[in-house]
C-alpha cells in the first residue's frame, strides 16, 4: 500500500515540470491563437474586438490569400510525388547492392542536415539568370535560359526543385527503414511461387509490404512541404508579384510585418486544419487498409 502511494506521488511529481511547461508554452498559446483568430487584434493596439468570422470572410475575399493557397497547393503537389518516388527509387537502388551503400546513403542524405538558408543562397547562385552555372550550361547547349527564381512562370518550379532536393534523402531513409523490415523469406517464397526478376519481386512483395511506410511517408511529405518557409523567405519574399507567396509566408507577413495578429492567427488556423485533416486521413486509411504487419 505504501509503495502504491509512493508510486503515485513520484509519478505525479515527475510529470509536473513537463505539465507546467506544456500548459504555458504549448496548450495556452495554441488556445490563444484559436481565440485570436476571431478578433481584430493588432500588435500595439490598445484594445481588441471580437469580430466573429470576419477574418475568415476577409480571407475568402482576399485575392492575395487565394493566390497563396493556390501556390501552396501547387508546391505540395510538385514536391510530394517527386520526392516520394525519387526517395523510393533511391532506397531500392542503394539497398540493391553492398558496394557504395553507406557512401551514397550519406550523399543523398547530406541536404537534410545542411543549413537550409545557406543552401538556398547556393541555389540562388546556381540558378542566377546571367552568372549561374545552370544557365551557363544551358547557354553552352544552345538552349533558352529561363530566369528561374525571378520570373513568375518558373519561380514555383524552381522552389519545388529545391524542395525535392532537400527532402528526397529524408524520404529515402524512411523507405530504407521500411525495406529492412520486410522478411527475407518472403522474397524466397515469391520466387518459389514463380516470381521472376526484380520487377515481379517488387510488385508482389516489396510494394504491398511497404504500404504502411508509403502512406506514412506520403503524409509526412505533404506536411513538410506544406510548411515551406525558409526558401521563400530567403530567395523570393513571395515574389515576383506574389507568384511564390505561400501559406506560412503569408501568415508570417501578416503577423510579424503588418502586425495584424488576428488575421495572421486565422491563417494559422487554416494551416492547422489542413495538417490535422492530413493526419486524420492517414489514421483512417491506416486502420482500414494497408495493414499487413
Amino acid at each position: 500500500m505504501r509503495r502504491l502511494a509512493g508510486e503515485a506521488v513520484a509519478g505525479a511529481l515527475m510529470t509536473l515540470p513537463a505539465g507546467i511547461a506544456y500548459l504555458l508554452l504549448l496548450l495556452l498559446p495554441t488556445l490563444a491563437t484559436v481565440l485570436l483568430a476571431f478578433t481584430d487584434y493588432e500588435l500595439g493596439a490598445p484594445a481588441l474586438g471580437w469580430i466573429g468570422l470576419d477574418n475568415f470572410r476577409e480571407m475568402l475575399a482576399d485575392r492575395g490569400f487565394g493566390v497563396s493557397v493556390r501556390n501552396t497547393v501547387v508546391y505540395v503537389g510538385l514536391v510530394t510525388p517527386v520526392s516520394i518516388l525519387g526517395g523510393l527509387g533511391l532506397a531500392l537502388l542503394v539497398e540493391a547492392g553492398v558496394k557504395g551503400r553507406a557512401f551514397f546513403r550519406a550523399v543523398f542524405f547530406l541536404p537534410v542536415v545542411s543549413l537550409t538558408v545557406a543552401m538556398a543562397a547556393a541555389w540562388q547562385y546556381l540558378l542566377h539568370p546571367t552568372i549561374g552555372p545552370v544557365n551557363a550550361a544551358l547557354r553552352a547547349m544552345g538552349v533558352g535560359t529561363p530566369f528561374w527564381l525571378s520570373s513568375s512562370d518558373t519561380v514555383l518550379l524552381s522552389l519545388a526543385a529545391i524542395g525535392v532536393w532537400e527532402s528526397i534523402g529524408f524520404n529515402m531513409v524512411l523507405f530504407m527503414a521500411g525495406l529492412t523490415a520486410i522478411p527475407r523469406e518472403l522474397y524466397a517464397a515469391a520466387e518459389v511461387d514463380g516470381a521472376r526478376g526484380g520487377f515481379d519481386r517488387f510488385r508482389l512483395v516489396t510494394w504491398p509490404l511497404l504500404g504502411p511506410t508509403t502512406l506514412f511517408v506520403l503524409t509526412i511529405s505533404m506536411i513538410r512541404s506544406l510548411r515551406v518557409f525558409d526558401t521563400v523567405a530567403v530567395l523570393t519574399q513571395g515574389g515576383p508579384n506574389k507568384a511564390s507567396e505561400v501559406l506560412l509566408f503569408t501568415m508570417y507577413q501578416q503577423g510579424f510585418t503588418y502586425l495584424r495578429l488576428g488575421y495572421s492567427a486565422a491563417i494559422t488556423l487554416v494551416f492547422l486544419a489542413v495538417v490535422l485533416a492530413l493526419m486524420w486521413v492517414q489514421t483512417r486509411v491506416l486502420d482500414k487498409r494497408v495493414h499487413y504487419a
Binding site: 509512493g6 508510486e7 503515485a8 506521488v9 513520484a10 509519478g11 515527475m14 510529470t15 515540470p17 513537463a18 511547461a21 506544456y22 508554452l25 504549448l26 498559446p29 495554441t30 490563444a32 491563437t33 500588435l43 542503394v94 558496394k99 553507406a102 550519406a106 550523399v107 543523398f108 542524405f109 547530406l110 541536404p111 537534410v112 542536415v113 543549413l115 537550409t116 538558408v117 545557406a118 543552401m119 543562397a121 547556393a122 541555389w123 547562385y125 546571367t130 552568372i131 544557365n135 551557363a136 528526397i168 529524408f170 531513409v173 524512411l174 527503414a177 509526412i220 518557409f229 530567403v234 506560412l248 503577423g255 510579424f256 495578429l261 492567427a265 494551416f271 492547422l272 495538417v275 490535422l276
Partner: protein, 269 residues
Amino acid sequence: MRARIAVLALLGALVLMPYLWMVAASVKPVSEIFRASLSIWPEQFAAAENYGKVLTRVPVLHYIWNGIVVCGGILLFQLLFAVPAGYALAKLRFPGRGIAFGAVMLGLLVPPHVPALPLYVAASGLGLLDSYTALIAPFTISAFAIFLFRQFFSALPDDLLHAARLDGMGEWSIVWRVVLPNAWPAATAFAIFSVVSHWNDLFWPLIVVQGHEHATPALGVLYFRSEEAGDDFGAMMAAAVLMTLPLVLAFLLAQRRFVEGIATTGLKG
C-alpha cells in the same frame, strides 16, 4: 551491378552539384564568377579575400556559438522535462496518467508555428525579445520527446526497476541512473533530431531576434546576404560554407547515427 553504381554516381553528382559550386565560388574572385565560365576549378584563388571578408565583416564564430547555446539549451530542457515524464507515463501508476498521455498525443498534432503568435506577444510583453530565453523557451517542451521516451521506456524490463528499488534507489535516481543509461539509442536519436531541426530553423529566430548579438547561423547567413554581400557571390558562398560546415562535419563523423536517428524519429513523428 556496374549499372547500379553508374546510376548512383550520376544521381549523387547531381545532388552534390550545389555544394561543389558553392565551395568553388567561395574561392573564386568576383571577376571570374561574373564570367560565368563552366569550369568548377578556379583560375585564380581568392579564398583569402572571400573568407577574410566574411570573418572580418560579420561575427561568424559568434553566430555559431549562438547556434550551439540555443540548440544545447533546447536539448537540455527537452530532456529534463521529457525523460522523467516519459518514465512516469511508461512505468508508474498515478492519478491523471490517462489525461497526461492524452495531452501528449494532442501535442503531437500541433506544428510549432501554431503557438508562435501568442508566444511572440508574451515575449514582447515580458521584454524578452532578442534574448536566448526567447529563442530557447518555446521549444523546451516537446510532446514528441515525451512520446518517444515513453515508447522506449515501456520496452525496458520491469525486473531492472525492481532490482534498483530493492537496492533502495528512489524513483528520481532510477530515472537518471538506470533508465536513461539504458535508453541511449532513443536519447541519441532524439538529440540528433532536435539539434538538426533547431540548427536549421529560420522561422522562430526571424521572429524574435533583431541584430547580431543573438543571431543564429541561419539568421547570420540572411544578415550577411542583405547587409554585406550584395552581388559579391564569392563572399556570400564563403559565408554559406562556414555556417553549413559545423553540422555537416558532425554528420560526416557520425553518419550512421544521424541516419538512424532521423529514421527512428521520422517514422515515429
